[in-house]
């Protein structure tokens, strides 16, 4: 194998050194002389109106430059469409400091700008606000009144029913029905949302923004403030976690730009951890699953209904129930998805939105059915294996889920599982094993990239995508280096800058597929130019060859497999008398080909839990996650993606809940001491298996994306293991110890 073969080989993160030395800079870390600090004032109430706001004390404090409120802040754009972003649901847009109306608790109602962070923070506490408060409604589970189906305008509506689920359920030999609920969650990336807006000498803005898409932030800002792209460059080289929270521009960006323009000063606005609970969240969802089956476990009927939440002003939707009609073979499926408007901010996509919650409920129901029919839960799943997407009648572009089940079960030792719950015990600890299936989409989006190869053999590749920790820098560097046969350290990948070719938002697990394909295409375009120059080198061994007959390895272009001959890239470019070759390409998915297939990733998750019989304490001792995600480009960072997904699954299953006090309409545990996410001591053995999966359909790389599939299925597998350990079924997430007493 050539030294410059990287894809599929374990490679340490190319940005690792920057991250372990503190050199990697995040949005709040770009300092500039004369920087000022904005501190956001948040609303105490969830619904009502500001009747009076008095900032005079704050303004009298030395160092305070301005206090912006709805009374004095500019309103740069009127129409909602100006505030639309690439991930905004249909509906009216929240416009910071536009009016006295309060629509959600902790709504930003003011921005203090001062010459130091401490003064701004102090001044914010001196602003007096009076409200006329109304009673908020924030409880999804209150007897539903007036919930409705989504409009489907830009949002999501489930596919039409197939067969007759009601009748099939009624006639089924075995019937099972249950209700499931999970609490809202907040993304809580470690880096808090921040924007540093630097006003340059020519008045242009250089904006360092925490975002999963610099192009999205730029579009938002330029539309609202009527700026050209040159006037508002958005940069974000590193992002301290996103998980979906950065798919929409958050309000600190608007406030920082507004203040910078008003004051003609550079401004930094960083939200507090508490304020990280003031924008989008994973919505609470109430679900009902009904399953009809034959005595030997063949599914006859599936009904899956979900009630989700959205705000009063936007219609957030997610794909919660569709999976129920795709995971298994079943002729009669009926799906329903409804929304309820609450006085909270609009929910926001959070890692595997919809899927992770819908499948948590559905895969629990399948487990419950397995006990009802007395069939091993893994066997039940294999019995009802879906060979195609039965909604669309399309084959899967690839689906190695059987291999996931088989390899996962073998690694886990599933064959030794006793069928009866409560049959494994170690002292006061009950042991249980559970399994669940996961599913997510394999998507590709339009993306552009630029490659610049200089005569010294250095390659610079760029695209405006993000690396939110996913390993984009590393995977793209590997793809570029391999395409042009260069050593890794000769390649620099640039991202997170609106001066680079446009990439889609980093989300949906599509970055490797989309940006990776674009990087490959841009590098191939460069390769073609190098090749034509190499052919023209005196006595070139490639003179009669076509591009298809050559390969780029070890710094040269050679006939495929022929290491004895070849022309070095440097030699070719010298002969071509160029100092550099630059190519920019925009890569589109091959929709005609792709549309003929269902394109998904799959997983099988096996879990061992231990539960203290008396005290209800739960420990997830072992997880085996077997993933069918197409070709694995960067095994080391890919494994980390799945490990992280599993940790999220554990956290979701056992710990995470944003608790509203419905009287105040406010999330009360709005900090990291009371909103529990998994800590190191919660995590034990996790095995990741990538099963072989070949796929020519999804994109030219054959990679399906791994950002979300790792979390899907984990919560159900844990709940199922807890049932196997204790005989107690918990249908609400998180499964805290009190639910097992």
């Amino acid at each position: 194998m050539a030294a410059t073969t990287y894809i599929g080989r374990s490679t340490s993160r190319v940005d690792g050194r920057a991250k372990v030395t503190g050199e990697a800079k995040y949005a709040a870390e770009f300092n500039t002389p004369g920087l000022t600090y904005g501190y956001v004032i948040s609303s105490d109430i969830a619904k009502g109106k500001i009747t009076k706001i008095d900032a005079s004390d704050a303004l009298s404090l030395p160092g305070v430059l301005q206090v912006f409120t709805h009374e004095n802040a500019p309103r740069p754009a009127y129409f909602d469409r100006k505030f639309k972003d690439d991930d905004s649901p249909v509906g009216d847009k929240f416009k910071p400091l536009y009016s006295a109306e309060i629509q959600f608790s902790m709504q930003p109602i003011g921005l203090v700008v001062a010459d130091s962070f401490e003064v701004a923070r102090y001044a914010a506490s001196l602003v007096k606000v009076e409200y006329k408060a109304e009673t908020p409604e924030t409880n999804l589970r209150q007897k539903p009144k007036g919930h409705k189906a989504p409009t489907g305008k830009t949002g999501f509506t489930p596919p039409k029913s197939r067969g007759n689920a009601a009748k099939a359920y009624k006639n089924a030999e075995v019937q099972f029905e249950a209700e499931y609920f999970h609490m809202p969650e907040h993304h809580n990336p470690m880096e808090m949302f921040a924007s540093t807006v630097i006003v340059e000498e020519d008045g242009k803005l250089k904006i360092y923004d925490k975002t999963q898409g610099v192009a999205n932030s730029q579009k938002y800002i330029t539309k609202i403030f009527g700026l050209s792209k040159e006037e508002a460059r958005v940069i974000n080289p590193f992002m301290g976690g996103g998980f979906g929270s950065g798919l929409r521009p958050q309000y600190q960006l608007y406030l920082a730009v507004m203040a910078a323009r008003e004051l003609n000063r550079s401004v930094r606005v960083v939200l507090t951890r508490q304020q990280m609970f003031s924008f989008g969240h994973r919505p609470a969802t109430l679900q009902t699953v009904s399953l009809g089956a034959t005595k030997d476990g063949m599914l006859q009927a599936i009904k899956h209904e979900a009630l989700g939440e959205t705000s009063r002003f936007e219609e957030y939707t997610e794909v919660v129930v569709n999976w129920a009609g795709m995971l298994y073979h079943c002729d009669n499926v009926e799906l329903g998805y409804y929304l309820r408007n609450l006085d909270t901010y609009t929910p926001l996509d959070m890692r595997a939105p919809g899927s992770v919650t819908g499948i948590a409920a559905f895969e629990t129901a399948i487990d419950e059915l397995s006990y009802k029919v007395g069939i091993d839960p893994l066997e039940l799943r294999l019995k009802n294996y879906a060979e195609k997407n039965e909604f669309e009648g399309k084959p899967f572009s690839s689906k190695e889920l059987r291999a996931c089940y088989a390899q996962g079960a073998a690694k886990f030792g599933w064959a030794k599982r006793p069928a009866q719950p409560r049959s494994m015990r170690e002292g006061t600890k009950l042991i249980g094993w559970g399994v669940a299936t996961g599913m997510w989409d394999a998507q590709q989006q339009k993306s552009a990239a630029k490659a610049n190869l200089s005569v010294d053999g250095k390659l610079v590749v760029g695209s405006s995508t993000s690396d939110i920790g996913t390993g984009t820098y590393t995977a793209m560097t590997m793809i570029a280096a391999e395409t042009l046969g260069l050593p890794l350290d000769a390649v620099t990948f640039k991202l997170g800058d609106t001066t680079l070719p446009v990439a889609p938002l980093e989300g949906g697990s599509w970055t490797v597929a989309s940006v990776g394909s674009a990087v490959k295409e841009a590098c191939e375009a460069v390769a073609k130019k190098v090749f034509s120059m190499a052919k023209d080198v005196k006595d070139s061994p490639l003179s009669g060859a076509s591009f298809d007959e050559v390969e780029f390895v070890d710094g040269k272009v050679q006939l495929k497999g022929d290491y004895s001959s070849g022309v070095s890239i440097v030699e070719a470019m010298r002969a071509g008398e160029v100092n550099f070759i630059e190519e920019e390409t925009t890569t589109m998915p091959n929709m005609l080909k792709q549309m003929q297939y269902a394109r998904n990733t799959h997983s099988a998750v096996f879990v061992e839990v231990e539960v203290d019989e008396d005290l209800g304490q739960i420990c997830v001792r072992r997880v085996v996650s077997a993933i069918a995600g197409g070709r694995v480009i960067s095994p080391k960072t890919a494994r980390s993606q799945i490990l992280g997904g599993v940790v999220w699954g554990i956290s979701m299953a056992l710990e995470e809940e944003s608790v509203l006090d419905h009287h105040f309409g406010r999330f009360m545990n709005h900090n990291l001491a009371e909103y529990h996410v998994a800590v190191n001591a919660d995590i034990h053995n996790i095995d990741v298996i990538f099963v072989e999966e070949h796929d020519d359909i999804v994109n030219p790389l054959g990679a399906k994306g791994l950002g979300e599939i790792g979390i899907v299925g984990v919560a159900a597998a844990i709940g199922n293991a807890i049932y196997h350990a204790t005989g107690k079924r918990v249908r609400e997430l998180p499964i805290t110890l009190d639910k097992l007493l």
Partner: protein, 330 residues
């Protein structure tokens, strides 16, 4: 955080005098709780008197037992060989709390002054009698998973968050304090208080009183073999207790000579009850006996909705902790 001036205390007495004449001044040592609360605007001192340079960080033997200097850090205390050997319950309780970093910062004296825990106390947007006397208690009818079930009042159901204090209560430590008007010694049981109708007060000290040291009585060493600190929480580490139990037994063969049981996470102070402990005097270490202790300790317990489970959980935890202690499991 509000604006404040800063001074470094030169001596205990002068520091006490300074705070006695300025009711908006506060002492600071480890700062782990005070600065947290100041950033939330819950605490708003205008002057901080820094005690950390005072020579109070020694751990030393006295004729009464082992004396913990008020400025000894939680980490140094937990890992002190004498504490580990003679008062391992204390080591275990300290190490069950917070994180390694916080234990490196937090002092033994400061640990006693941690403010009680409640979502509403920390959130200025909601009424709270502890923050603003008379404004009402939001927790009683609201979300109260972390709140108390014992010794609560109509004005407050907050809980004391410390793990260390639960062990100190079980060990019957005494606290030496110096104020502007002189020195005194406070029994641990009398240090913290129940909320009653003055929930703004967490303890019985005057604002100018400084803890100088904590004495662990020599007879506490009897519990170095049969003890446990059992902490139940919402994740495996770095979380406050839902319920914690410090259980210590002085055993003579299978017979219990003396028992100590203190609870954390359930009340405004570490919860102990001498009558409950006396039930075990001269008794065998049996589940039935332990259940009696649990029933006695939980007598009068009251749930408020999202924390009602703590009553049953505490009962089970007491039985488990005493069983472990009797078996020599730590």
């Amino acid at each position: 955080m509000n604006s404040f001036s800063y001074t470094r205390a030169q001596a205990v007495e002068t520091a006490a005098r300074e705070v006695s004449t300025n009711h908006t001044a506060k002492f600071i040592a480890g700062g782990t709780n005070l600065l947290d609360l100041m950033k939330e605007n819950v605490e708003r001192p205008t002057r901080l008197v820094d005690l950390t340079r005072l020579p109070l960080n020694q751990i030393e033997d006295t004729d009464k037992g082992l004396r913990l200097g008020a400025l000894a850090t939680n980490a140094n205390t937990a890992y002190d060989e004498r504490v580990e050997e003679r008062y391992p319950l204390l080591s275990k309780a300290i190490l069950a709390g917070a994180s390694a970093q916080l234990r490196n910062m937090a002092t033994d004296g400061g640990n006693l002054f941690q403010r009680t825990r409640c979502y509403y106390f920390y959130d200025l947007a909601t009424p709270c009698n502890k923050r603003e006397p008379g404004s009402g208690c939001s927790a009683i009818t609201g979300y109260n998973r972390v709140c108390g079930i014992l010794g609560t009042s109509e004005s407050c159901i907050a809980t004391h968050p410390s793990d260390m204090c639960v062990a100190l209560a079980a060990l019957k430590a005494t606290v030496n304090v110096t104020g502007a008007t002189g020195e005194r010694t406070v029994e641990f049981a009398d240090f913290h208080r129940l909320p009653g109708n003055e929930p703004e007060r967490d303890n019985n000290l005057k604002p100018d009183e400084i803890v100088t040291s904590i004495d662990l009585p020599a007879d506490g060493e009897r519990f170095a073999k049969n003890f446990t600190y059992l902490k139940l929480r919402d994740r495996a580490s770095y979380a406050f207790a839902l319920v914690s139990v410090a259980a210590a037994l002085d055993m003579d063969g299978d017979t219990i000579k003396e028992a100590r049981v203190a609870l954390g996470g359930v009340a405004h102070k570490p919860w102990r009850k001498a009558e409950a402990e006396d039930l075990l005097k001269g008794q065998a270490a049996t589940k039935v006996n332990f259940e009696r202790v649990a029933a006695s300790l939980l007598e009068g317990a009251k749930g408020y909705g999202s924390n009602t489970f703590k009553i049953e959980l505490a009962k089970r935890a007491i039985v488990r902790a005493l069983t472990m202690a009797a078996n020599g499991q730590h």
